[in-house]
């Protein structure tokens, strides 16, 4: 089993050209580790998916890598540097459900939040910055919604706004937590178009992803996790019936696995 080979503590040295490298990461809520001794390497200029069953620690891995939640152990390198020296190269798109959508703020305000670090405490949000925020809204097809209160948006539109906010940061590494959860088909397409464009501009994208049927279409690289790392590598060689079985255990029916494997073989 892949899991058996891989559930070890020893760490590989992180490659210096990776967009995001995680070494020996353990995160625990109480005394039950949600992520245990995980090594993960997400290459630059690549679309990577983090895949695993519910409660496998996908979001936790992402949040701990960003320092949003504290880690018990582990090292995070972003483009070869400790994360705190590379904050301005990372943009994060949290889960939509994580915020209060009745908050008094407009779509454009939210996108401009992506500029707060650049503006600083005393700086003014200049016209150029507002124009940039509008431009980011246009990239996700939301330019006509700039002055809406955010609570009036659909789930898909809220997700687009979050993506626009990340775009405003003009980062090199985009980390997205379930960007396609609960969004409509048009939004899913709009988001994937934006992400593919980012990749073609040389940026790295890492997304927590739950829909196994679209992995082959959307991503080049997968990271399979179930508390521990199960497997990682290019989709073509790593996203197989065997690794999925190891990740999901009995939760995936054999027929489903065959389908995914066949779909893979056909491409």
């Amino acid at each position: 089993m892949v899991a058996a080979q891989d559930g070890r503590i020893a760490q590989e040295p992180p490659p210096s050209d990776a967009a995001l490298a995680v070494r020996g990461l353990t995160v625990s809520y109480g005394e039950k580790p949600a992520v245990f001794s995980v090594d993960a390497t997400f290459p630059a200029k690549t679309m990577s998916a983090i895949i695993g069953p519910n409660g496998a620690g996908k979001s936790t891995l992402l949040k701990a890598a960003l320092g949003v939640i504290p880690r018990l152990s582990g090292e995070i390198l972003v483009f070869g540097k400790p994360i705190d020296q590379a904050r301005d190269r990372i943009a994060y798109v949290p889960q939509r459900a994580s915020v209060d959508w009745d908050f008094p703020t407009t779509v454009l305000d939210v996108v401009q939040m992506g500029l707060y670090r650049k503006v600083g405490l005393l700086g003014r949000l200049s016209g150029a910055m507002a124009a940039r925020a509008r431009d980011c809204l246009a990239r996700v097809g939301m330019q006509d919604f700039a002055h809406r209160q955010i609570g009036q948006l659909s789930g898909g539109q809220q997700q687009r706004v979050f993506l626009a906010r990340a775009l405003a940061q003009d980062a090199d590494l985009y980390l997205l937590d379930e960007p396609f959860a609960g969004v409509d088909a048009a939004t899913e397409r709009a988001i994937i178009d934006v992400l593919k464009t980012l990749q073609s501009e040389g940026k790295a994208v890492v997304a927590v992803h739950h829909d196994l049927s679209t992995v082959r279409d959307y991503f080049d690289h997968v990271f399979l996790i179930n508390v521990r790392r199960i497997a990682e590598g290019p989709v073509a060689t790593t996203f197989t019936a065997e690794t999925l079985q190891a990740t999901y255990g009995g939760r995936l029916a054999a027929t489903h696995l065959d389908e995914l494997a066949v779909a893979g073989g056909a491409q």
Binding site: K63, L66, G67, V68, D84, R87, I90, Y92, P94, S98, V99, D100, F103, P104, T105, T106, D109, V110, M113, Y116, R117, V119, L121, L122, G141, M142, D144, F145, Q149, Q152, L153, S154, G155, G156, Q157, R165, L175, G182, V183, D184, A185, A186, T187, A190
Partner: protein, 404 residues
């Protein structure tokens, strides 16, 4: 001039004018700095902080008396209250972060324990022979009798500083209140910003102690922000509207209490703020109760209009008199129910919009969005252009509504 107008124009004596100005400044500071605590949904932390000032007042008095003073130095008392309020704040934060207790439990525990200690200390002080303990209990409910110029200066300087700090920190505080995870990912220290947010509230509490008292100061921190929320959808404006509501409440409250004998200032200020809140609750455009009722009425009319036009499109008779009246008033049907030229055009348009909505409902499982179908909002306002193109692709070419 009536006593009320004299007081309103600051002509009711030196003390009354001082109190009115002080209360207005305090109201502004409390309203604006309380905004983010409200938006962060931690409004009640301010109540615990306020109650935690009491032991500090008692301790400061005891310390000052034991050093040989009379224990009445305002600065000393405020420093003492700030110290224990800060300890109370850190205790709540620690309990919430380090134990499984939720914040409401931590607030309740800290509020009760600190207030209890404070009352014990005040009782002990009453039995002390040294110092001038009379008036210490006015920190509970506030007192304006004998407000000194230096008290007004403390409020003016302290209040200005907290308003300035609120303005300075508005972006990080907005970020933390709206989306703490994203703030942390940007590299902001969320815990420190939370402490700053509560520290500002603590500062306002301390400077307002003498005027409104620790029991009611929470109202001045929360009610203005809640009131302001009715009037704007932007957090940056909530700060200033809340400041204005607080300042107005402070000023009017002080004026009212000065214009009649035996009206306590602090409670009257809070009641004025409550009146502004109720007025906003009822009459604010958008979020107010009246606006909601009117919206419902107009929604009903739009539903009838829509149903009528769809009936025309399907060449069905219109049965409801209300519907017929609505359409006739717009010149879309003749009084006998036969559609006019304009009526047929409108009906065709509505029928197409309706079919687009049908497709939208098929594609979107999101009730929050398709739930916005109200029969009159054109679909263009709810969906993006690419989404509508997708609907039309599924719908096929437009069809005309046949003539009557």
């Amino acid at each position: 001039m009536s006593p009320f107008f004299e007081a309103l124009l600051l002509q009711a004596g030196y003390n009354a004018a001082l109190v009115a100005i002080g209360a207005a400044l305090l109201g502004f500071a409390a309203g604006s700095s309380g905004t983010f605590l409200f938006l962060r949904k931690r409004a009640l932390v301010s109540d615990a902080v306020a109650h935690a000032t009491l032991p500090g007042v008692g301790l400061a008095f005891i310390v000052m008396v034991s050093l040989g003073g009379d224990g009445r130095s305002l600065l000393g008392l405020l420093l003492g209250s700030a110290l224990t309020a800060w300890i109370g704040l850190l205790t709540i934060e620690w309990i919430t972060r380090r134990t499984r207790l939720a914040e409401d439990a931590a607030i309740g525990a800290v509020l009760g324990v600190f207030f209890g200690i404070g009352i014990v200390l005040l009782t002990v002080i009453q039995s002390m022979s040294a110092g001038r303990q009379a008036g210490l209990e006015s920190f509970l409910l506030g007192s304006t009798a004998g407000m000194l110029f230096q008290d007004a200066v403390v409020i003016a300087v302290g209040g200005s500083l907290t308003v300035f700090a609120t303005w300075l920190l508005r972006r990080p505080m907005t970020l933390v209140a709206f989306d703490g995870d994203y703030a942390a990912a940007l590299g902001y220290d969320v815990r420190r910003i939370d402490l700053l947010m509560m520290g500002l509230v603590m500062a306002v509490t301390v400077i307002g102690l003498k005027l409104v008292g620790l029991i009611l100061i929470v109202a001045m921190l929360i009610i203005p922000a809640v009131t302001a929320r009715f009037w704007t959808e932007r957090s940056g404006r909530v700060i200033w509207v809340a400041g204005a509501v607080g300042g107005l409440s402070g000023y009017l409250g002080a004026v009212l209490s000065a214009s009649a004998p035996a009206l306590p200032t602090g409670p009257i200020i809070v009641l004025v703020a409550a009146v502004l809140f109720v007025v906003s609750l009822l009459f604010a455009p958008g979020r107010g109760v009246l606006a909601a009722v009117l919206r419902h009425r107009s929604f009903q009319a739009r539903v009838h209009r829509r149903q009528g036009l769809l009936a025309l499109a399907a060449q069905h008779p219109i049965r409801e008199a209300y519907t017929l009246r609505l359409l006739a008033r717009e010149g879309l049907v003749r009084p006998d129910g036969v559609p006019t030229e304009a009526g047929r055009a409108q009906a065709a348009k509505v029928a197409r919009d309706e079919r687009r909505w049908d497709v939208a409902r098929e594609i979107h499982q999101d009730a929050g969005l398709t739930g916005r179908y109200d029969g009159v909002t054109p679909i263009e306002e709810v969906f993006t252009a690419d989404e509508i193109t997708e609907f039309d692709r599924r719908l096929g070419p437009p069809t005309a509504v046949g003539g009557a």
